[in-house]
């Protein structure tokens, strides 16, 4: 066309006008720490594997592998983890937390069903590491060490590996075929497991077998004994011993009326087990209130559903055959229970003590440099004891006692051992700012109430050790994964690309950084940051 001068223009010429010069702030894509990740004791990048899982199909395997990079027990964790991730989940402030735990279980079960395997990442280092204790922490450490190319010898005094996962958690919470499958997958990587092998002298083991490093993860296998005035005929057992015996095929005779003393998860396990063993009445006696009970809410709820009764603000002052004496307590202003002097008697055929667990550190002997304080082995940030090359983790080390914490410490120890063996300094994890709820733009997320896992009907729960909580199916798992808001991290939702009035966001084919800001044209209005659903864009002042 022969265009008239001035008033008729070729298209798109405004790109010569670089409006980026107007800008006083620029958008920057950020990675903030999602609260689920922050809360995960095992160190899982929860948001990231949920993101993979949202695709369904192949995404499930990608998600599972992402978990496995950190935690070799998705199927186990999906059952027994108390999921602090969900407590932290920002979605809880919108409607209900994402069912992270149930998705993890789904992925773990999918992996077992499909036979997905992991592989050793590095060539053999020629170094040998002994891991003492095949519980969650030891297995975790062994898994990571063997994948890092080290030869791992895993010792355990029990006949079968698993530690408290096997000998402490009842099968209705953790079916053994699930546990076995996940342990076997670790062993298949080449871990030299020696069961029924009790280390009695650490120095001797290290010296005679020529290990380059050791990880101590012997747990806290002893039930805490409290002094209870008791008649000679009174039947008192500790929960740890009872649950352990049960796993080895014993059927403890507890009678019709069983009292469980304590308020932790082990107390719930003991009470629910007692019901399954035939007790008509299982009563949990706890000295504080329900709100202050350390047992996880879901455990308490399930116990209640199964008919377990609770007596709050009570201590056992005396045990006699067929009878308990309880004293009423009241909380002082600090929340500590104080005796009131009021007592009552209660019929009970047996008392199960679930008052906590203690370590057994006799095997340390006089191991040089390994310090013990308050019954646990002192370690530094890298899980190393005072003795170079000797690390400790799990219940034997300081910290909250849970399988998830133990798994996390096992991994940290493995990483540290690997660094130590290579003479390297352990990599410091960069602390990212927390992705808080206020930074999200939740309008963009569809209203989506949580999908809950079905539970076994009450009749079967009362009498069998069948698994109580069922898994999600493919649809519900996908739905649940897709409820994730991906706090503080880009979800490739194209919102920034779309909402920019200046077309100054460029979409590129890079999964890790799918967008670039075109600074030639970005005027710095901040719409992309304000409208980012995930709060993954920050406005940063320009240096003028």
């Amino acid at each position: 066309m022969d265009l008239p001068f001035g008033i008729t223009l070729e298209h798109g010429g405004s790109r010569a006008n670089k409006t980026g010069s107007w800008r006083t702030e620029r958008p920057v894509y950020v990675h903030h720490l999602p609260p689920c990740n922050q809360a995960c004791p095992a160190g899982e990048d929860v948001r990231s594997w949920l993101y993979d899982g949202e695709s369904g199909g192949d995404g499930y395997e990608r998600a599972w592998r992402a978990i496995m990079e950190v935690n070799p027990f998705p199927a186990v964790m999906g059952r027994i983890c108390y999921h602090p991730c969900e407590t932290g989940c920002n979605r809880g402030q919108l409607d209900e937390a994402v069912g992270i735990n149930s998705v993890e279980r789904f992925l773990g079960d999918e992996a077992i069903r499909a036979g997905w395997r992991m592989q050793v990442d590095r060539p053999s280092s020629g170094r040998r590491v002994v891991v003492v204790g095949a519980g969650p922490s030891g297995l975790s450490a062994a898994y990571h060490l063997v994948r890092l190319g080290h030869a791992v010898t895993l010792l355990d005094s029990a006949p079968r590996p698993g530690g408290m996962m096997r000998y402490g958690i009842p099968a209705y919470r953790l079916p053994r075929e699930v546990l076995d499958a996940e342990i076997q997958r670790i062993l298949d990587l080449g871990v030299d497991l020696r069961t029924d092998t009790t280390v009695t002298d650490l120095d001797q083991t290290l010296r005679e077998d020529g290990y380059d490093a050791a990880f101590l993860a012997v747990g806290a296998p002893l039930g805490h004994r409290a002094h209870l005035p008791a008649g000679s005929a009174a039947k008192i057992v500790d929960a740890v011993t009872m649950l352990h015996g049960l796993e080895e095929g014993e059927r403890p005779l507890l009678g019709r009326r069983v009292a469980v003393y304590g308020g932790g998860n082990t107390a719930m396990d003991a009470a629910r087990t007692a019901k399954r063993l035939g007790a008509e009445d299982a009563l949990v006696v706890y000295r504080r209130t329900r709100e202050r009970m350390p047992a996880h809410e879901s455990e308490v709820r399930e116990a209640e559903e199964e008919g377990v009764r609770f007596t709050w603000l009570s201590t056992i002052t005396q045990v006699q055959e067929g009878m308990l004496t309880l004293e009423r307590m009241e909380l002082d202003e600090t929340g500590f229970p104080q005796p009131t002097g009021e007592t009552e008697e209660l019929p009970a055929d047996a008392v199960v003590l679930a008052l906590g667990q203690d370590t057994d550190l006799a095997f340390l002997g006089r191991a040089e440099g390994v310090e013990v304080e308050d019954g646990v082995v002192v370690v530094d940030d890298s899980q190393m004891t005072g003795r170079p090359g000797v690390f400790a983790g799990g219940d034997v080390a300081p910290g909250p006692r849970s399988a998830t914490v133990a798994i996390g410490q096992g991994r940290r120890a493995a990483t540290s051992i690997d660094a130590w063996l290579r003479g390297a300094i352990p990599e410091r994890v960069v602390e990212l700012p927390l992705a808080d709820f206020a930074a999200l733009n939740t309008w963009y997320y569809t209203d989506a109430p949580r999908s809950h896992r079905p539970v076994l009907e009450a009749a079967r729960r009362a009498s069998t050790f069948d698994e109580v909580v069922q898994g999600l199916n493919r649809d519900t798992a996908l739905y649940e994964a897709r409820r994730c808001m991906s706090c503080g991290n880009c979800i490739s939702c194209d919102n920034c690309f779309g909402v920019c009035p200046d077309n100054a966001v460029i979409k590129v084919d890079d999964a890790d950084a799918p967008y670039l800001i075109d600074l030639d044209f970005c005027k710095g209005c901040g719409l992309c940051a304000a409208e980012c659903p995930a709060g993954a864009i920050a406005m940063v002042p320009e240096e003028i």
């Binding site: 223009l9 010429g13 405004s14 808001m485 909402v499 077309n503 901040g526 304000a530 409208e531």
Partner: protein, 339 residues
């Protein structure tokens, strides 16, 4: 109107990597038309620049790129075409302030007479060019049922000339000629006009309202409109950081709050009857919307004007009832307007 097949991240976001490409928004595509491209001189966070790209890119997609556009005088025209740089990447003509709908009608007639029947016409103007000075031409275009999609980018005032009142300026808004002097409330209550309802009175095939806050809703409406022939009218709320005295980053949020408060009803109508209403997802008091805008600052000072806020809330509440903007408990909508 939009069926959500899966609960998933980003259902309301521009894109969604989990959807099939053909189900994604036009804006999510790197191959989108970018009908208005970078380098335009709109203010930071301009809702109109954004709305125009949303609408035209969707129209371009719907018409397979076969679109011609006319644009009435106003911000959009001015900031996009200062000689020698045009921001338009589509065939585009600007004539006058008050004649956009007639120019569009002529374009449609010219195309039809020339046998270029696949080429579609979109007319666009701001609220001044639509509801005030262009209204006669608009009404004429409607009643003749010319084959034009006319889009009003409503930023509720004459922003290009320095923020004066238009017939689309809401009550109590302060503008350059509705100053808050003495007991004056800002713009008067009981004046102005809501052209979508007037458009419906012409019984044209399609009338819809939308905002830049809900792209999917907007694109669906453009697509729907482009699937029809005859006179079609789309009224898009496009917040103006300058004229509303709001932060540029709040543009979309303001559009969202205008809807969620009930002050701006989002609906569709065909042949004079309301056929669908986009429900409010989370109702908010008008305060949430008003407080972000300097043009309403006089309502919230000390002592403020709670009486005026209450009147605005009443207007919002009336919209909610009149258009049935809230889902009732059984999931159905009850609009008292239309059938």
């Amino acid at each position: 109107m939009r069926e959500t097949k899966l609960y998933q991240i980003g259902t309301f976001a521009v894109g969604n990597r989990l959807l099939d490409p053909e189900d994604r928004s036009a804006q999510a595509s790197p191959d989108r038309a970018n009908s208005i491209t970078s380098g335009h001189r709109a203010c930071q966070g301009c809702g109109e620049a954004l709305g125009a790209r949303y609408v035209l890119d969707a129209a371009m997609r719907a018409a397979d790129g076969d679109v011609v556009v006319t644009n009435s005088t106003g911000c959009l025209e001015v900031f996009s075409t200062p000689y020698p740089e045009s921001s338009w990447q589509i065939p585009w003509v600007h004539s006058l302030f008050g004649n956009g709908p007639a120019v569009a009608a002529g374009m449609a007639a010219g195309l039809r007479a020339s046998g270029r029947t696949s080429t579609r016409v979109v007319g666009q103007a701001g609220d001044g060019g639509t509801v005030d000075i262009g209204f006669g031409c608009l009404s004429g275009m409607f009643e003749r049922n010319d084959d034009v999609l006319f889009v009003c980018y409503d930023n509720q005032g004459y922003m290009n000339t320095g923020v004066q009142r238009s017939a689309a300026t809401p009550p109590a808004a302060r503008t350059a000629n509705t100053g808050v002097i003495g007991d004056e409330p800002g713009n008067a209550f009981g004046q102005g006009k809501f052209v979508p309802l007037i458009a419906m009175a012409h019984e044209i095939p399609y009338v819809a309202t939308a905002t830049v806050a809900d792209l999917h809703d907007l694109e669906d409406k453009v697509t729907r409109a482009m699937g029809m022939h005859g006179a079609r009218y789309l009224h898009v709320l496009v917040p103006c950081p300058l004229g509303w005295a709001a932060a540029p980053a709040e543009t979309i949020r303001l559009a969202r709050l205008a809807v969620e408060s009930g002050l701006f009803p989002v609906f569709e109508a065909e042949h004079g009857e309301v056929t669908a209403v986009t429900s409010i997802r989370g109702k908010v008091p008008v305060d949430d919307y008003l407080r972000l805008q300097g043009r309403y600052a006089h309502l919230f000072g000390d002592p403020g004007r709670p009486d005026l806020v209450a009147r605005l809330q009443a207007l919002a509440d009336r919209n909610v009832v009149r258009f049935g903007l809230l889902d009732s408990d059984d999931g159905t909508q009850n609009a008292s307007l239309g059938s």
